[in-house]
Symmetry: C2
Subunit: 431 residues, 2 copies
């Protein structure tokens, strides 16, 4: 790049897949990234930008001259173009749109007008829609001879004169049908038609559940407006799983490995602050029993065990509940059964660990009563953990709050508070 040896660079990237080109960009120092793109000019495939982390992509787009971005975006399929534009701030977005020819601008603008994370944002607006009276032969000839069709497609759609979707005909069926047959006779209505305003997560569930490869997208009036393909959906599935996993670990769903120190420190801080408040609450509970702790220091030594065991058991139950809610496996119809089972598991493991700890404590301190106290506290806390672990996500879900993001602090607060309170409380009554 430094020597501006364009020919060598072009030769280097000519054979690269867009994903590999994206990796190459990420490996470069930030300042060199826009430079490489400019040097390559039209040899740079803007599709590569869709494979980058958001932070890196926005940084590159902001540094590139508008004209370069406009030309790059024009080469893209509509879904990729939307993907690249949607993260830019409004001013930049409008500037780029203003430089596009009117039909392309209108199409992109319409996609961008759909809500964030909706099917309308992810769909491709290039597709083949034909009337039902066309024959298979006509269709095959049309597909074979027309320029400017979508780059890849798996089916043709059949629409009525008002562009309402009748159904679709997959390419392999088209090939296996006699040329004289009319499309109207071989078309099958799509079992699940996606609405452009549907949330991408719901759409992903439909794709997974019915093993779809692609699906037409219609507007509220039932008119065909685009097509969603599975490769876009794979990214959605991956993203959603990613967000849930990170949320459960107390990390913002959009944190990326390429984010700056400052962004990460701030985003992790808020979660830790919440935890600090919870920990102070638990500490307050402990302080209620200062007298007991002074009289019997063994209580201070043992109390974190009950709390920690509850925290882990609660996290187990919560993890299962959050995941099952996300995949819609946990529904109102089976919630009662799952809650009952979790409580039973909590009780069972509570009793087992109660026995183990009673023995350990007796061996360590030689006080049988202390073993009994910790055993009772263990059972109570593991039951509380099971109850909190399942009821908190269920309740948050019913309140339309994402249980993956918010369950953790509540559950550990419950297990800490109940753990310390049960152990020290029983001890204060006993001794």
């Amino acid at each position: 790049i430094e020597s501006r040896d364009v020919d060598a660079l072009r030769a280097l990237v000519a054979d690269l897949h867009e994903s590999d080109l994206a990796r190459l960009l990420e490996a470069l120092p930030p300042a060199d990234r826009p430079q490489l793109i400019e040097l390559l000019g039209s040899d740079f495939d803007f599709t590569a930008l869709t494979e980058l982390d958001e932070t890196v992509r926005v940084q590159i787009l902001e540094e590139l001259p508008t004209q370069t971005v406009v030309e790059g975006v024009r080469e893209l399929e509509s879904d990729d173009a939307v993907y690249i534009l949607e993260d830019l701030d409004d001013a930049d977005k409008q500037e780029i749109l203003a430089h596009l020819p009117i039909p392309e601008r209108a199409a992109l603008q319409r996609s961008l007008d759909y809500p964030e994370e909706s099917a309308g944002r992810r769909m491709q607006t290039e597709f083949i829609a034909l009337p039902p009276f066309w024959t298979v032969g006509q269709t095959l000839d049309y597909v074979g001879e027309t320029e400017g069709l979508p780059e890849t497609f798996f089916e043709v759609f059949v629409v009525d004169p008002t562009y309402r979707l009748t159904g679709s005909v997959p390419l392999d069926r088209l090939l296996r049908t006699k040329r004289g047959v009319k499309l109207g006779e071989v078309v099958t209505p799509d079992r699940h038609v996606v609405n452009a305003t549907d949330d991408q997560e719901d759409v992903a569930r439909v794709f997974e559940r019915y093993n779809l490869i692609s699906s037409p997208v219609v507007d509220d009036a039932g008119r065909l407006v685009g097509v969603l393909t599975i490769d876009d959906i794979v990214d959605v599935i991956q993203e959603e799983a990613d967000e849930d996993l990170k949320a459960l670990g107390g990390v913002a769903g959009d944190e990326e490995l390429s984010d700056s120190f400052w962004y990460i420190a701030r985003s992790r801080f808020s979660w830790l602050l919440l935890n600090l408040i919870a920990a102070n609450l638990a500490s307050f509970v402990i302080s209620l029993f200062e007298g007991e702790l002074e009289r019997m220091v063994a209580l201070a030594v043992l109390m974190p065990i009950v709390a920690s065991q509850g925290g882990n058991a609660g996290t187990q139950t919560m993890t299962v509940a959050v995941r099952a809610l996300a995949t819609r496996e946990l529904r109102a119809s089976n919630a009662r059964r799952v809650v009952a089972r979790e409580l039973l598991v909590g009780l069972f493991n509570g009793v087992v660990f109660a026995v183990i700890m009673a023995v350990v404590v007796f061996a360590r301190f030689g006080i049988a009563d202390l073993g009994f106290v910790i055993a009772l506290a263990m059972i109570i806390n593991l039951l509380a953990a099971a109850f909190g672990g399942i009821m908190i996500p269920l309740t948050l879900d019913r309140l339309k709050v994402d249980p993956a993001v918010s369950s953790g602090p509540f559950v550990t607060t419950v297990t800490d508070v109940v753990g310390f309170f049960a152990f020290l409380g029983i001890a204060s009554l006993w001794f």
Copy 2:
């Protein structure tokens, strides 16, 4: 079902998609499930079984008469048949295979001979392979007129006389090429050919990275043996994300919502036992400072805060590290940078929370020195959390141990032990 009203049942399921049929089965009491399948006879689509949880599927298959299973399996595509058979125990598997006609048996047996979770297990062995000297016209006619082709396909493969893969031609390209052109002239070699012994997780990464819809599968000699489609891969992606998420929450990757109480209680128990050992280790650390705790009960009240804050910060770092390792975003090339950043974040948040807690403690207990002690312990533990949170997953990954499964207990042990030791240790030196 009770009234054995077969006609009504048939009418009921006739229009159901296999996924909905699977849901219906799951909603039934276990004893009724095989009964429904028998009543429906050949109207029951065995594909529905692939959409069930493993536990439910195995239970149904074990109760059905062998002959019913054999007939059902014969109707399936090869990948679905393998999916259904692979979880059965060897005796049942062999019995069913023995009842199949020899060619089908051999094909299934070959797929089952590939290692578990390999591409060979997931692939479909029905595909269209043609020689390069065929013309596009010939191909289109062949596809249009031959019976018994795969139910759905997106491309034809071109092979040499020894069945070695040359490449593939997608259907849409086939349609857009003149009939006289030879396949050898339009074929493109596949950029990434999957080997039948490749691990399904690695295959899923390739599909995601290159946005593939389907990919040929070859054996070690480069001969075409099957085709993998994205809908199978979506399940793999979903499963792998699921396993990581559950593992981080301390739950076995294969725990399903339909599992029995007994199975779940046992599988969660082992993780909790590990945690109990870690908690007892932390408790032992506390017991080293019994003297200090007796002299100053405020130490007992405050010590869980430092440990808890470290545990959460460590979990944050670990979650990011585990996920980035799973998606191959965290590599040797950027590990150093990520470790440095995590330590910086740990230091930063450590200092911020140190200041907050110093103020809180001074306000609560009026002892300035105690505030200073907790502040110092907080910084040390948040640094330890960052270090453990990133180095433990990296080390486990290098040792070929799945970091998602094993990192958690190590990280919280580190933060608990360091947290209690730092706080109580500094206090014992200070006061």
